[in-house]
């Protein structure tokens, strides 16, 4: 079985919620729909205070190229458009909607019937994706249409679909592949049409055997879609590692996958594309995992975007008593939450409750030059060196040592026997070097 060559680690999988059927989360009494995404410019609000909105109605218009439309996930009355304090403690603009009933836009096809035929042209497909506000649902929330609009002079010849879910604990993509396998594959063939390729590879890690066999069975009736079971290794879900694992092509430093003719999309994105193109349903719902070792029940949920996380967590059984840390996303790359009064956003893959005995950081010790971080870095960097340079503000040297190639996967910090906070320092250095590079480009 294939995988990527350099580095990588094997954290304990802990996929506790695997195979749990995704329940429908309750619709909240008030939805807070953020107008900004993690990546790109926030969209401009199209509604005003007091307006009545329906489910699926566009309430935020993309305000630039790297930006996406925002749709209402509930029906009701707009309470206000105001800043709300998100999990990081900073203000973001959001639309607050008081929910009243559940009235959908008439254009949305709510039947469960699977529509396989798509007669639209590539340009029409992309137009629909733009209007549905689809962003990469793997976590980075990069607007999907940008990846599909291939610049002149470049040509894609393979579509790589990311069904890896290499983060421990998370099972939302896994569950989606089990429950909506056919829809995903229709979405994949629509995406293939949009970028005009005849071959697609769906990479799935081998710890999801049921999903692999499900997709393989379904893929027989689709032309050009190959399901590739891959060896289990973190961070295989990263774009560059995935392209190498599935196609054997290595992406040069500082380039995008398109450089080697590949376009990467997540399975959840493919599903969202299916719904947008075939069912006229914009992106206002996603599947998230609520899990943790001390949780009474492990669960996956279909959640309307904008639902406060606290609501979903309550439905899943509440916060366990011994919780030391609450993480949005997986344990490797997720971010700690300071409050649960945060709305589910397009990029929220799950909530993880880490018990106290696992949550505290261990005491940092001196670097013993064992080079474990170097061996395990999937990008071939020298994390121990970058950390030292970041501490000593040696930005030029960091740039020479290719800090911008860091994918912030956390393999270095995970593997360090001296518990050194390598990634914390490298991430800070990467941010600073990035600023320097940008200021050099447009002074």
């Amino acid at each position: 079985m294939r995988t990527f060559k350099m580095g990588g680690i094997h954290p304990k999988e802990n996929k506790l919620s695997a195979g749990k059927k995704a329940e429908i989360a309750l619709i909240p009494t008030q939805a807070i729909i953020p107008l900004g995404h993690y990546l790109g410019a926030p969209s401009t609000a199209l509604v005003a205070k007091g307006d009545l909105v329906k489910v699926g109605q566009m309430i935020g218009q993309a305000s630039g190229f790297v930006s996406a439309n925002v749709h209402s996930s509930v029906s009701g009355k707009v309470l206000k458009i105001d800043d709300y304090i998100d999990a990081s403690g900073y203000k973001r603009p959001a639309v607050f909607i008081d929910v009243d009933g559940d009235e959908w836009l008439e254009t949305i096809d709510r039947t469960n019937e699977i529509k396989r035929e798509c007669m639209l042209s590539a340009a029409e497909i992309i137009k629909k994706i733009i209007s549905a506000g689809i962003v990469g649902l793997g976590g980075a929330t990069f607007p999907t249409h940008i990846k599909l609009l291939i610049p002149d002079g470049k040509k894609a010849n393979v579509l790589v679909i990311n069904g890896i879910e290499c983060e421990p604990y998370l099972t939302c993509d896994h569950q989606l592949m089990l429950e909506k396998g056919e829809e995903i594959l229709v979405g994949v063939s629509i995406l293939m049409k949009a970028i005009n390729v005849t071959r697609a590879i769906v990479g799935v890690e081998n710890n999801k055997k049921d999903a692999i066999s499900n997709l393989q069975k379904l893929a027989k009736s689709f032309s050009g879609i190959e399901i590739a079971p891959l060896q289990i290794k973190y961070p295989q879900g990263s774009e560059k590692q995935l392209v190498e694992a599935t196609t054997g092509r290595q992406i040069p430093s500082g380039s995008l996958p398109l450089e080697v003719g590949a376009v990467v999309q997540n399975v959840a994105t493919a599903y969202a594309v299916y719904e947008a193109v075939q069912k006229n349903k914009p992106l206002f719902e996603r599947i998230i995992t609520i899990t943790g070792k001390s949780m009474m029940q492990q669960s996956n949920f279909w959640v309307r975007l904008g639902t406060p996380l606290a609501n979903v967590v309550n439905q899943a059984g509440g916060i366990p008593d011994d919780t030391g840390k609450i993480v949005a996303g997986g344990p490797m790359m997720g971010r700690s939450l300071s409050t649960l009064e945060v709305a589910v956003a397009k990029g929220t893959a799950g909530v993880l409750f880490i018990p106290t005995f696992e949550s505290a950081r261990k005491k940092m010790q001196n670097c013993i030059r064992c080079a474990k971080c170097v061996t395990n870095c999937p990008m071939g960097l020298e994390p121990y060196l970058l950390m030292k340079q970041s501490e000593n503000t040696m930005w030029t040297e960091m740039e020479i040592n290719r800090v911008m190639d860091c994918i912030e996967c956390g393999c270095c910090s995970f593997t360090c026997p001296s518990n050194r906070p390598l990634l914390d320092h490298i991430r800070f250095g990467k941010m600073t070097v990035g600023k320097i590079i940008r200021s050099r480009k447009n002074p």
Binding site: I85, A87, S88, G89, Y90, K91, R335, S336, S338, T339, A360, R361, P421, D424, H425, R427, F428, M431
Partner: protein, 270 residues
Amino acid sequence: MNLILISLLTLLIVGALSAIILFFVSKKFEVFEDPRINVVEAALPLANCGACGFPGCRGFANACVKADTLENLICPVGGRPTMEKVAAILGKTAPEVSPLIAVVRCGGTCELRPRSNQYDGVSSCAIAHNLYGGETGCSWGCLGLGDCVVSCKFDAIYINPETLLPEVDEEKCTSCGACVKACPKLIIELRKKGPASHRIFVNCINEDKGAVSKKACSVSCIGCSKCSKECAFDAITIKNNLAYIDSEKCTLCGKCVDVCPTTAIVEINK
């Protein structure tokens, strides 16, 4: 014996030749350096902090000697006495400087600003700021991880263990501005020291709406504009729910201190 003699002679000749060449080269390429630069440099504090904007004290001395007037050339560390010495050496007049001091504009102590979460990452304000708003509901306030303390070359700023906020030692602070640059939240400001260190300032930089900031911290500025109405000298401006006192216009009358409902305006060394 012969061998030793030959080698000694060779060395001698090579040495002598090199000396002659070096002598002429040094004459030919001699760089004239104003001897006053050394004298001026000796009069400076020699902290090499870079607060003057030049690379170290020698760079500043060089600039002082070359400049026609000493205007805009101020050593913030030495202040007026040092500049007078420099002026005496160079026969120029020293510029007027009003002494400045670093002011930490956050009053959110542990009791007044309740903690809502716990940060256990790397002890660096810059890194924590990059991650999130901080351990309290106020995303503007001091993180208390001490980047300013690390940046200070004069040992003039320290974290008070009771309040967990940085405090400036008025005797030691030279207003070099290193802490101002180090603080990622832009809390520290260089302000006029005032007569006998008597000064009034808004001890908060929270730009949230009044209700939000008040909830997070009981001594935050809520932007009620009572102070700006009270001020007879137009020294107080309200912008983004936050008052700011212009130290140039402030006459230290203290009226704003009395009207502030949240005690966010602080008067010290009255």
